[in-house]
Each structure stands twice: as C-alpha cells, then as structure tokens.
Amino acid sequence: MAQAELAIRTRGLSKHYGRVTALADLDLDLAPGEVMGYLGPNGAGKTTTIRLLLGFIRPTAGRAEIFGTDCQRNPDITHRRVAFVPAEASLWPSLTGAETLHLLGRLHGQADSSYRDELIARFDLDPSKKVRAYSRGNRQKVLLIGALMTRAELLVLDEPTSGLDPLMEVAFRHCVTEARERGQAVFLSSHVLSEVEALCDRVVILRDGRVAESGTLSEMRHLSAVTIEATFAGEVPDLSTVPGVSGVVTEGHSLRCQVAGPVQPLLTALANAGVTRLLVREPSLEELFLAYYGQSVPSEGVAGVAG
C-alpha cells in the first residue's frame, strides 16, 4: 500500500517533557477501513499520541502524517479529513446540544444532517437541553454524534465510551462497524478491553511511552501463552518448577495457569497429579494485556483495566 494512502503514519514519533519520556520512537501505520485499538494504562502515552497527531503538541523527534500530510505543518489541512472525540467531555455550558452539534458541524465544514438526526435518535439524546444540564454520558454522546456526523475519513477516538451506559456502548459499536464498512479508518484509544476486542482489526499496547506489543489479536495470541484450567481428584500439584508455566491461581481442587512454549512438561505434570478435567483456551485480550504488565487475571471477573 502506498504511504500517501495511509490514514496515519508515524515514524520515530517522540515526546519528552524534560527528563520524562511521554512517548518514544512510535512507528504506526493505520490504513483506511481499518480499526486500530490503542491500549495502555494511564500515563502510557495514549493521549500524548493523539495530541501529537492532531498538532496540539509538538514532537521532540520524529514525524506524523495523516493521509500523507504532515500533522504539524498543515494541521488545518489534515483536520478536514479527521474527526476527534476527546476523553474529557468539556463543552460550552451555555449552548444546547443542538447548538453544539450545529457549531461542530460548521467548524468541521461538513456534516450529514440526516445522519446526525439518525445518530441523535440512536443515542437517545435530547438536543434541546443546555450542555450544563447534561450528565457526563450525555455530553459524551454529543461529542460522539459530532464526530460521527462528519463522516470524516479518519475517526480519532480517545476513550469515547466513558460515561456511556451499556445500551449506548452497543450503539457505539454499531456506528464504528458501519464506519469501517464505509472505508473510514478508526483510531480507538480505550480502556474497555471487550470493546477493543470486539471492534479492532489490530491492537497496539503501549508501556511507559513505548510500544510493548502490536499486531492482530490472533498474531498476539500465537505469540502469547495459552490459558489452562484443570481440576483434580486430589491435591493440586506444585507447578512452580514446570518450564513455561506462569500465573498459577489455585482454588480448592482447581487451578488456572498460563503456559508459553512446549506444553508437554505441563501435561505430564497434570497427568501425574490425577487431572480429571482439562480446559485449554487462547488468552482473552484482557489476559494478554495484563500479561504484558506482569499481572495475572484475578479469580473473579475483571471488567477492565484499573484507572
């Protein structure tokens, strides 16, 4: 694919604040029609990346392009093809929802009014209310509708569903799926791992400002440990000396662990211990994510990444 056709292309993109590295040597490619999940804990550099792409802050090194145009030199050109949803839903409190959407459409220069009305219905928004009377979730809806109604070729979404209820999250997923089908590229920074798992073609995981892992989910699963859950008739065996085993969690006569590399040593150990039930599955995105941060999944469900 020619470079000029990429929705986002960064090379060596870096941002330092004094001695603090917010982002280091980021190489990123996002093609049209692709949805990329951008993951990382708080402070990993996700929002810094987005603010660099939008030209809000200047890189210390490297460059970023949107559809082949430099983000820093010509932000007003690149922004014609971009719509943005920030993480903080800070809007003008004296304007109503309808006035805000009108303004956002005029600022961007293009807005599909029939699609806007459809989105207002889908997201169940009362546009006659003033922004200061909206809940956080409703303010987030205004921003989502404002971005989606432009039908921009690139959607840059920074934690777009924070504050939305589950029904609205479903509506959001439908909208992103439709956008991808129309050929729009989506750059999705999110803490909701199930959302990323459901929507994204590729995932990039950041750690301390650097890319810790990237690829499709299946690629990442192949590179990662598989999860094994086993139940025993008697005592749970000690697997601490078995090669490749990590993240062992025991509960009564059951255990769960991850194994990387050859599984033969683990299967031998389980068989010798009298395993009565065995379940092998690929790791979820949540498990992959936590594995990159050196944590195991707690025995009870984890809704998302802390913070």
Binding site: P86, L107, H108
Partner: protein
C-alpha cells in the same frame, strides 16, 4: 490541603474529622488572605510614611485640607476627607476607598469561587458525599472564608501598627486595629454577598456577576451621597457607606459596625437557609435548561467567540455606562468646588484645570482602570477555553490557531472600544441632563482616550498567553495592579518620574480635563498590538496546555 488529603483524613482516625470543610476552605483562603493583607499593609504604610515627606510645612497641609476637606468631587470619588492636615486623615482619604473596593472584590470572587465554582466543577459533590448537609456545608465554607478575611485584617493590622510606631506617623495600637477592621470589613460583607448570589445563580460566572452588580450599585449610592449635602442620607443605603461611617483614625464611630455586622450575619444566614432548600448543582433563580436552538453566530470560531463574549461585553459596557451616567450627573456640582489652589492638587491626580472637566478627568481615570480590568477578563476567558479543553474541539477542526487567537483578540478590542464609547456618550448624557458644559465630541474623545491602556493590557495578556499560558492572568493583573498602585501613589506622594512612567494610566492624558494625547495613545496602542502579534506567533508554535 489537597483534595485527596481531605478524603484520606477520616480514614486515619476512623471517624469524621469535625469541621473538615471549614478547615479545608480556611487552608485554601489563607494564602490569598495573607497576600492581600500584605498588599493592604504596604499601601497603608507607603501612604502614611509619604505624608511628611510630601507635605512638609503646616501651610502645605492646611492648603491640602482646605482643598479636599470640602471638595465634593473628591468626596464622591474617594470618600470624605476630614483632617487632611494630619497623617491620619491623609492616610484614610488616600487609601480607604481603594482598599474597601479591593476587599469587596476579593470577598465576592473568593466566595463565589469556593461555593458556586466548586459546585460547577463537581468538587462540591465530593464534600456533600460526606457526613454533612448542604446547609451545614455552606455554613462551614463561610466559617473557613471568614478565617481568610481575618488573616487579611490581622496582617493589615500588624503592618499598620508597625508603621504606626514611627514618630512621624504615630498610630496607637487600638486605632490601628480599628483602622484595619474598617479597611477589611468590605471583604467580609461581600463574602456574604457572594455566598447568597452563589445560591441564587446557576453558574459561578452569574453568581460573581450578580455580586459585582450589587457592588456597583453600592458604590454608586455612596458616590451620589458624597457628591453633595442634599443626598447625604443615602450613605446609609449603601454597605460601602456604612464602612465610610466607621471613620477610622479621624473620628471613630464603632456604632456603624452594627449595620455591617447585621448585614453580614443576615446574608450568611440567608445563604445557609437557601442552600438547604435547593438542589445541588441548581440555583434558586429559574434557569431554563431547554430551548429551541439559536444558531446565530455559531458559524465558525470568530462567531463562537462573539457569541461567548457578548454577555460579558454587554455587562462590562452596562456597568461602565451606569458609572458614566453617575459621573456626568454629579460632575457639574462636584466640579464647582475645584478652584484656585485646588487646581494644583487635582493636577497631581492627573487632571489639571477646573470645574466639571477636571472632575471628569479623574472620573475617566477610574473608568480607564475599569475597562483595563475588562481586558484582563478577556484574557482570562480565552485562557479558560484552552485550560478547560474546549479549544480542542475548535482546533481539531480545520481551523488554524492564528484564526482562533485573532478572533479572540478582535472580540476583545471591539468590546473595549464599545465600553470606551459608552463611557463617553453616557458621561455626556449625564452632564447634559444637568446642563453641564462638556460637548459630545469632547466626551467621545475622553471615552476613546481610556481605551489604549486597556489595549496595552490586552496585549500584555496575549503575549503572556502565548509564552506562559498558565501565568497569563497573573501577568496581566500584576501589570494592572502595579499601574493602579503607582498612579494613585503618584497622585498624592510619589515624585519619581521614572517610577510614575511605569504606570499605564500615568501615560494617559486626563481627558476631558486636558485634550487626549493621541501620540501617546498611538504608542500605547501600537505596543499593545505588537504584543498581541508576538503572543499569536508564540501561541502558534507552542503546545496547548491544560489547567
């Protein structure tokens, strides 16, 4: 105290900390109270110590007393001037109205910020989530704010006592304590005013606006009352008038503290009562949260700026116009007393000449200060757009930074010109109603003459917003605060030409007492515009910075 410390404190002890909100509020207001106490004390000290140096002979002192002691123009602007032949009378006349106004502004801004501002930002919900009620929480905040006001009083009193020990000044301890009380009581009064408007209005901006309007009316009533003997009874209708009646250092009347205390206590009780009867996040006054869309002006960044800035611009212009009408109405009567040797003293204040024109010259100086603060307000409003993240929505669209920045500056310049023209037209209107002599072109010239210092202030703020965005407000307020201080000190005491030249307002000719100096105005405007362009250039190339 940081917010997390507030949350963490009960966990350490295992039970709620008593008066936690009051302590939290007190800690937040202590620093600004100490700072403003120092400012008050320095102003008082510089005034008292300068008297003997400037007015060295008994003849000069008697002339000063004869000039201002019966001058209604000076009384209307600065309050009565008894015993100007003494350092005590001079100090009261020179600093009291300035400190009373500063104290009132501190009070209303502090209470609306800590009550309604915290509520707007959602921090109030955190406090109300603890073991308290809305009414008790407001009561505790008021107690905490009272601590801040007490610090202003204490610091002012200590510095006044320190300067009072000088043989040239000689203020007793009791007189110093009472003087400091009279100077800082306006802060307490307007803390209570702000507390009530915070219950009435749905937003901090509106709450501050209502309280500022109340301050304007109070000042206007006092001004009319002091302009001539016929309306002097009106002094008791103004909370600022009560403070004037305290007469510290010259003829103390502690009984005048009764209306001050009663007013403050009544408003504080009303604020607590109203807080218990309204929903958190709402005001008592009706506020329509829904309406049909009004998309006028919402067509781009400049239109948005105009739409957002219009209410504030109209408010400032209305306040300026009201003050101008009052000035025009009393100019003839007040100016009639400026004759003979009094001209020299008025000249020191920046307005040579006699009659209504000289009075108006000084009055326009005060209007110049007002609209310079309007410029500071415009700088802060622009900075808030960036700090709160709303600018992100504009700049994420195909809108250049220069376009947005230039739009904000153009809106600011237009608003300042509007206020200046309103000052000229309404002063002329007031004078014409009294058969005064100032012509409409001269009044308009005087109105436009007060705009260049404000344009310079806007430029300084724009440059600071470009270079040090988080300090932009501080920079412009320091420039204005210094200019006001030097201008008023220069009017009575400071003789150093270099020092006087550092004041923006000293550069301005006191039209209509003298013709505007358009050359100086051009230089001030040119410097302001240059600073704006530099600020815009810097803004284009820097990182956007949040709060």
């Amino acid at each position: 105290m940081p917010a997390d410390a507030v949350v963490a404190a009960p966990a350490r002890t295992g039970r709620p900390v008593p008066l936690l909100i009051a302590r939290y509020t007190a800690e937040r207001s202590l620093r600004s109270g100490a700072l403003w106490g120092c400012v008050f004390g320095v102003i008082v000290a510089s005034s008292a110590l300068s008297y003997n140096r400037i007015y060295q002979t008994s003849t000069e002192r008697q002339r000063l007393a004869a000039t201002f002691g019966v001058n209604h123009a000076a009384s209307a602007l600065f309050g009565p001037a008894p015993e100007l032949q003494t350092v005590a009378g001079f100090t009261v006349f020179k600093v009291s109205m300035l400190l009373i106004i500063i104290g009132a502004i501190w009070g209303l801004l502090t209470s609306t910020r800590q009550l309604r501002g915290d509520e707007d930002a959602g921090r109030w919900d955190l406090l109300l989530g603890g073991p308290t009620t809305r009414a008790r929480a407001v009561g505790q905040v008021l107690a905490g704010l009272g601590t801040g006001a007490t610090v202003i009083w204490a610091v002012t009193a200590v510095l006044t006592m320190a300067v009072g020990r000088s043989s040239a000044v000689h203020f007793s301890v009791t007189a110093s304590l009472y003087f400091a009380l009279a100077m800082t009581a306006s802060a307490v009064e307007f803390l209570a005013v702000g507390a009530v408007t915070s219950q009435l209005a749905p937003t901090r901006r509106q709450a501050a606006g209502y309280a500022a309007a109340f301050l304007g009316v109070s000042y206007g009533l006092r001004m009319v009352a002091d302009a001539g003997p016929g309306l002097h009874a009106l002094i008791w209708a103004s909370p600022l008038g009560w403070l004037e009646q305290l007469q510290p250092l010259t003829g103390p009347r502690p009984l005048a503290l009764i209306p001050v205390a009663a007013f403050t206590a009544a408003l504080a009780a009303l604020a607590v009562l109203l807080a218990g009867r309204r929903d958190a996040g709402k005001g008592m006054l009706p506020d329509r949260n829904t309406r049909a869309p009004r998309t006028r002006l919402l067509s781009g960044p400049t239109g948005l700026t105009a739409r957002l800035a219009l209410p504030a611009a109209l408010g400032w212009a209305a306040g300026t116009a009201l003050a101008a009408v009052l000035i025009g109405t009393i100019a003839k009567a007040a100016g009639a007393t400026i004759e003979g040797s009094e001209r020299q003293v008025f000249s020191r204040l920046g307005a040579p000449g006699s009659g209504a024109a000289a009075f108006s010259g000084i009055a326009f100086l005060i209007l110049a200060i007002v609209i310079a603060f309007q410029a500071a307000s415009a700088v802060n409003a622009a900075r808030d757009e960036e700090a709160d993240g709303r600018l992100d929505h504009v700049l994420a669209a195909p809108v250049s930074r220069s376009r947005w920045f230039a739009g904000r500056l153009l809106a600011g310049i237009a608003a300042l010109l509007f206020s200046g023209i309103a000052a000229g037209i309404f002063t002329w209107t007031g004078e014409a109603a009294q058969g005064g002599g100032i012509s409409l072109p001269a009044a308009l010239d005087a109105g436009l003459n007060i705009v260049p210092p404000a344009l310079f202030a806007l430029g300084a703020g724009a440059l600071a917003a470009g270079c040090w965005p988080r300090r932009a407000g501080t920079v412009v307020y320091v420039v204005l605060g210094w200019s006001v201080l030097v201008q008023f000190a220069g009017g009575f005491a400071v003789q150093n030409r270099w020092l006087l030249d550092t004041s923006l307002f000293h550069q301005m000719a006191s039209a209509p007492a003298v013709p505007p100096d358009w050359q100086v105005n051009g230089i001030l405007t040119g410097l302001g515009l240059t600073a704006m362009l530099l600020g815009m250039r810097t803004f284009r190339h820097r990182d956007l910075q949040g709060a």
